[in-house]
């Protein structure tokens, strides 16, 4: 990296010799990443002291794996070009205007999507694509799980394989769900919606995306390194006992956590500082509130996730004993750290999803958002309470039975601000003229699914009921109703809504509606079945079930195959509409927020003249005479 050129970059294909920044792309990233990994691994093998202490047999292997993955990480980030900016700044030769434009992806066509591009619209599309890829992988894993559980006895997958499949499914889906709204729409739509030319820190924006990419190979490598037998929660001491695949998991989480923190800081700063003239907080669209609440909630909790995995990694690689009772540590410490992240994380997923629905509801009912203030209070209330409820995951852990009462209180209190968001949505639908479109259908489906997800959450938050239900597949059904039934369904609605702005084309209606009905019906079949066997006592995360649960599981597996069909139709719809869809007009939904005031393709800096805002985006409806 010391060969940074100081030739004034005259961007453009006609330049005789390509400047370094023009050569870097995902290809150089992958190459340097692999070189870095191999080199680091070789050095580690050669120079790490031999482990003479026989008690921690796996330690040296774990050290090598970690070092190799750090080599990958450094190599990849260097190769993709993440270091050029800081390096040049350090040398006092900050990027020239041309170079900055090059970084923004000017005149590069498709290539800019494979580079360290800073334009928020490019980053938005990159996030959209990687989210779909992640969901695809997670979906394949889900189908493996369900096929294995299709009938009693299971064991179509080996137990070790099954556990790894469940863990990888869990973590890929959770990562996908965390980025599914704030990634594509938070990046592409939000800056336009608030009337800004780009994000507050465009380079951090590129950084957050490429960090997600950098996290993928370590995670997938775990498949070849013995798997992750722990589920996505990676509890200790099982994590400590696991094969080196666990190191891939740890590394991936650490990188992803950094990405989330970077994105969080960037999005928060953008929303706070870059809003157009006249866009007071009262005139700021509710979607912005949702995105900001989500990333601002992630900001304090993802460092905890990061920390918990670093400590686990140290236990594994150096024989420290943060979570090992034999050395004075405690597995309860890990459980606390994990869920201090884990519960707020579910709202990191859900809040922007519901906010997207609240953004769409006025457009499709042609009336103002019902009680903007209540919506904000709901979002704030959920965010605030969500950091105070984590120990409801520890009711039966035996850690602090005295705290069960207080945590039951805080957990159930969340139903109040959640109810406020329901009222906002229903109030907006009430006496509006409902325009039946896919986004509208998503609103109705989410109200339905999230009612079920929320109410089952109340059962689980009750301490004595949880003694029966914790660790059963009832829990799995509950969080699928919230994550998939509410979260993912909202994200699909949002995708159809903003598709014309992001791709210039309308989402194919026929394919969209077909996919909608198939997935919603399949979803409710699958997870209703799961509720029942859960109540009857089927544990979660088991690869072999007794004949007693056969019927319920066949129903669920059937439902899963229906979901799969629907999702494939949806994917087909995305591709078909993106490539061949009918061209969209500038404002196909006749909405009033700012992103619809610019034409497709949105120019590099979004606006020729920055807009001035004089009212909120919800001025629909006829004044009563």
């Amino acid at each position: 990296m010391t060969t940074v050129t100081n030739r004034p970059a005259s961007a453009g294909p006609s330049a005789p010799k390509k400047a370094l920044i023009e050569r870097l792309s995902i290809i150089t990233g992958l190459l340097l990443g692999i070189v870095g990994a191999v080199l680091a691994w070789y050095l580690a093998r050669t120079f790490l002291p031999v482990n003479t202490d026989g008690s921690y047999i796996k330690t040296r292997m774990d050290q090598e794996v970690f070092i190799a993955m750090i080599g990958w990480f450094v190599g990849f980030m260097t190769g993709i070009g993440a270091l050029i900016g800081p390096f040049r700044w350090l040398l006092g030769k900050d990027l020239t205007h041309d170079e900055t434009l090059f970084y923004a992806g000017k005149d590069q066509g498709v290539k800019r999507y494979f580079r360290y591009t800073t334009d928020h619209k490019v980053v938005g599309i990159q996030y959209l694509v990687i989210t779909m890829v992640i969901f695809f992988v997670g979906g394949v894993l889900a189908m493996l799980i369900r096929t294995n559980l299709g009938h009693a006895g299971g064991n179509w997958l080996q137990p070790q394989t099954y556990n790894t499949v469940v863990g990888l499914h869990g973590i890929t889906m959770v990562v996908g769900a965390i980025i599914m709204i704030t990634g594509p729409f938070g990046n592409f739509i939000m800056p336009i919606m608030i009337g800004a030319r780009d994000m507050a820190f465009p380079r951090l924006n590129a950084l957050s995306f490429w960090l997600v990419v950098a996290a993928v190979p370590p995670l997938l490598s775990s498949i070849w390194l013995g798997g992750i037998p722990t589920g996505w929660s990676a509890y200790n001491p099982l994590e400590n006992q696991a094969p080196p695949g666990m190191d891939g998991f740890i590394m991936a989480i650490c990188i992803f956590a950094i990405s989330t923190m970077v994105a969080g800081a960037n999005i928060t700063a953008t929303a706070v500082k870059m809003r157009a003239k006249g866009m007071t907080w009262n005139r700021t669209p509710i979607f912005i509130y949702g995105v900001v609440a989500s990333v601002a909630l992630a900001l304090p909790v993802f460092p905890v996730f990061f920390l918990s995995q670093v400590l686990s990694g140290l236990d594994r690689a150096t024989g420290s004993t943060f979570f090992d009772v034999r050395g004075g540590g405690s597995p309860w410490l890990y459980e606390n750290l994990f869920w201090i992240m884990g519960h707020p994380e579910v709202y990191v997923i859900l809040i922007p999803a519901l906010a997207a629905l609240m953004e769409m509801a006025p457009v499709f009912t042609r009336r103002p958002l019902f009680s903007f203030n209540l919506a904000i209070m709901g979002i704030a209330g959920i965010s605030g309470l969500s950091v105070l409820v984590w120990a409801h995951h520890l009711y039966v852990s035996g850690w602090a039975p005295l705290l069960n009462g207080p945590f039951m209180l805080t957990t159930e209190l969340i139903s109040i601000p959640t109810g406020m968001l329901f009222l906002v949505l229903i109030g907006t639908l009430w006496r509006g003229r409902v325009w039946i479109t896919l986004p509208t259908a998503a609103i109705y489906a989410v109200l339905f699914n999230f009612t079920i997800g929320g109410i089952t959450g109340i059962y689980l938050s009750d301490v004595s009921a949880d003694a029966a239900l914790h660790g059963s597949i009832f829990v799995t059904a509950h969080f699928h109703y919230t994550l998939m039934g509410a979260g993912l369904t909202s994200a699909i609605g949002a995708l159809v809504y903003w598709f014309p702005k992001m791709t210039g084309r309308m989402f194919d209606k026929k394919l969209g509606w077909t996919a909608f009905w198939i997935t919603q019906v399949g979803f409710n079949i699958a997870f209703m079945g799961m509720f029942m066997v859960g109540l009857a006592g089927q544990p979660r995360r088991v690869g072999a079930i007794s004949a007693f649960y056969d019927k319920g599981n066949s129903i669920t597996t059937m439902g899963a195959y229906i979901i799969m069909t629907g999702m494939l139709v949806l994917l087909h719809g995305v591709v078909v509409s993106w490539v061949w869809g009918t061209k969209a007009t500038q404002n196909p939904w006749f909405a009033k927020s700012l992103e619809w005031s610019v034409a497709y393709p949105v120019p590099l800096e979004n606006f020729d003249v920055l807009p001035v805002v004089t009212e909120d985006a919800y001025g629909y409806g006829k004044a009563q005479s």
């Binding site: 406020m420 109200l447 938050s461 009921a465 029966a468 009857a536």
Partner: protein, 255 residues
Amino acid sequence: MSELETTQRPSWWKRSDAKKAIFLWVIFTAIIGYTASIIQSRAMGSPASENMSNTINMVKIFTWAAAPVAGLVAALTITTLLGQRHFGDNPPPEAEHEIRNSPRVAATWVVVSTLLCLFAVIYGMVLVQADENKLRTANPINIDVTGQQWVWNFKYVDNGGAQSADLYLPVNKPVLFHVTSTDVMHSFWIVQMGIKVDANPGYVTETGTTPNKIGVYDLRCAELCGLYHAYMQKKVHVVSQADYDAWVQNQGGNA
């Protein structure tokens, strides 16, 4: 609402969409409450301890408390769909009003949801407290439970330290389990008795119950513990006191 408005517009409950919604609400509440509670009590099976019967009751009561909420959401949303639907590529005409808020509705909604929430919390606290008290005041038999990848071991400390791999319990006698693990975390769960507590290496956790029905029940590990977690299941035999005494002596303990 001002005097003027009340004379102009009929009271809200006389409007046709409100009537529809109320009608649907009653119907949905009844259907949801009835079917959900039937399915739940079927699925949860017949209880083998008071803990479990309390839990089943609680689930049913929660369901009946939640049914009006779910019913209301369903009724309101479906009513909006019965109203002025609009299809096509162009937007419908603007709504007939531009109401941005209704303090009365918002306040009612928040107050009612707060009351429901407090009901759930208080009811839950009372139940937990009752379980706790029973555990303290009874004069239970003590059993040490040890989880180990992927078996359970039971030690009947009050019966001369007899040991077994299946769990045997005398009927109608309070029992206190002292649970621990030798390796990773497991979770000790007797399905039909509605009790569960994690088995942690290095710590002893406690749970207790009084089995009240003779029979054979399911004991499962409820915390992912590695390769054969799915198979870490045992039977719980609840037998008469006489049978229990005989069994214990057979195991080398004393009754």
